[in-house]
């Protein structure tokens, strides 16, 4: 039981990074990033490649994953989404574009990293024992980095000038331009940050669960579940949704036959959203 709770927390913490990335891109750009899962997978593979193929230290792999994903986010905004938003008046255009980007990234991942499932040994070996619960050191490490990143991100959004500008854009784009904020530049920043967060999660979780090139869609679906549960565009909602999903998934996998868990999660989510369509924290952006 305690073991499952610990697993839930580790999972929830990393899911929070994924959900925050998705909700940030949605709040700033009004884009539903269907390529989010593929960005996660790319982050995982880059870390795998750095560690297992190039034999570099984990820090290098982690930083490489984040940097590459931030660049992928920036470039996607600059070359694809900015133009699509400008020339199109229909919201479906950016959704189709994101779906296209997902396919593109998935093919590229397959091309570069192959179709094999890739895992790696824990980053740190050993096991901690806390109050009678065994926590593998590798997992504790992943939890700590995810927690630190989450705190860092929330602090950035809440207390810095660019963070404030991002929150402002999420609430009112035009009025924020009137305060002197370059909306294009900050849109790119939001997209880069959002992609970077999911790349970070991909890098961290690749050290616990393996990655494979086909994982992206499943991760995207999870990300959308978390954001819908928590409330789209809300920081606290993304975190809440992530932990709810982390717990449901860990407990489900621990106590039920494999495929039942997600069936129940989907059913539960549909019922929940019927009664509370705005999600747990349901407000535009907090």
């Amino acid at each position: 039981m305690e073991q499952v709770i610990v697993n839930s927390l580790i999972l929830g913490m990393n899911y929070a990074l994924i959900a925050l990335g998705l909700t940030l891109i949605f709040a700033i750009m009004n884009v539903l990033n269907f390529a989010h899962g593929q960005m996660y997978v790319l982050g995982g593979f880059i870390t795998y490649y750095a560690l297992q193929v190039l034999h570099l230290p984990f820090v290098v792999g982690l930083v490489a994953s984040v940097v590459v994903l931030v660049l992928v986010g920036l470039l996607s905004e600059r070359l694809l989404f900015r133009r699509a938003i400008r020339v199109s008046t229909r919201e479906e255009s950016t959704m189709l574009l994101a779906a296209g980007l997902a396919l593109l990234l998935e093919s590229l991942i397959l091309l570069f990293f192959g179709e094999k499932q890739r895992g790696m040994p824990p980053i740190i070996s050993g096991v901690y024992q806390v109050f009678g619960v065994y926590i593998p050191a590798g997992r504790a490490f992943v939890f700590a980095i995810a927690l630190a990143s989450l705190i860092g991100f929330v602090t950035f959004m809440q207390f810095t000038r660019p963070g404030r500008a991002l929150r402002a854009i999420a609430q009112d784009k035009e009025v924020t331009a009137l305060q002197g904020v370059n909306i294009n530049r900050y849109g790119a920043l939001g997209f880069g940050l959002g992609a970077g967060l999911t790349g970070l999660a991909g890098s961290l979780l690749a050290t616990i669960f393996a990655v494979n090139s086909g994982l992206g869609t499943a991760v995207s679906i999870k990300a959308f579940i978390m954001v819908m549960l928590g409330g789209a565009g809300v920081v606290s909602g993304a975190i809440a949704g992530a932990f709810v999903l982390g717990f449901l998934e860990s407990f489900g996998y621990a106590y039920m036959p494999g495929s039942v868990t997600y069936m129940l999660i989907f059913a539960g989510m549909i019922i929940f959203l019927v009664f509370r369509p705005q999600g747990i924290m349901g407000k535009p952006w907090g």
């Binding site: 929150r167 402002a168 002197g180």
Partner: protein
């Protein structure tokens, strides 16, 4: 030869619908100029054109000897033109302090920004206790004052105000009117004031423009417009 601020022969379209045609306006440094007109006359569109939110189809806009009609909104703020938008448009989910700090986004003089926060509290004393409060919890009048303060935090030299009296009680309208005069005289900010409350606008301004269906129907000294038969009948209900 050129004025402090000047718009020449502006045409603006929304898709194919013409919203402004051949609108020209001038403002001298330190003036308060009013724009009055009924619903849909094009007042907001005019201010949107001045701030770069809406692109003009033809015409030119000049500010301090510089042509600004091809600039983006964020560049125009940088030149010293701020706007208080129609309907206030404060950030509802931010606290008052963050709202005001957004106004100072382009400023790097941190100490002065801090001092300006205090100055805003002197002008609108209610701000002091509300700094940490979410802006959506404020009353309409208070929100309007936050919107005005936010614009002032940029230290503008020209302030564009779109119906600051909209939906406010008479007593609050008088307070807003007083603060517009104070901003103009004490802070030396030129003002373009858009109002449906024509009486207030003509009282505060030295010159005024009357917009009708996207055209300048009348212009002149506010004192004279107050006594103009048509203006009295159509806009002052007298």
């Amino acid at each position: 030869m050129s004025s402090y601020f000047e718009a020449r022969n502006l045409d603006v379209y929304y898709d194919k619908v013409k919203a402004l045609s051949d609108v020209s306006m001038v403002l001298g440094e330190g003036d308060i100029v009013a724009i009055i007109g009924t619903n849909g006359a094009g007042k907001t569109t005019t201010l949107r054109a001045f701030t770069g939110l809406t692109r003009i189809a033809t015409g030119e806009i000049w500010y301090q000897g510089k042509r600004i009609d091809q600039l983006n909104p964020d560049q125009i703020v940088g030149l010293g033109i701020s706007m208080v938008p129609e309907g206030r448009h404060i950030y509802p989910l931010m606290n008052v302090r963050d709202n005001l700090l957004m106004g100072a986004f382009l400023r790097r003089d941190k100490a002065e920004v801090k001092r300006d926060l205090e100055r805003m509290c002197e002008r609108f004393p209610f701000l002091k206790e509300r700094m940490r409060q979410q802006a959506s919890t404020l009353s309409g009048g208070e929100q309007q004052m936050v919107a005005i303060s936010r614009a002032l935090m940029a230290r503008p030299k020209l302030l564009l105000m779109d119906e600051p009296s909209l939906g406010l009680a008479p007593k609050v309208v008088r307070e807003i009117a007083r603060s517009i005069l104070a901003i103009n005289r004490e802070d030396k900010v030129s003002v373009i004031l858009v109002e449906q409350n024509s009486r207030m606008a003509l009282k505060l301004s030295s010159r005024a423009y009357v917009l009708e269906t996207g055209r300048v129907a009348l212009e002149g000294a506010s004192e004279e417009l107050v006594n103009n038969e048509d203006v009295r009948r159509l806009y002052l209900g007298a």
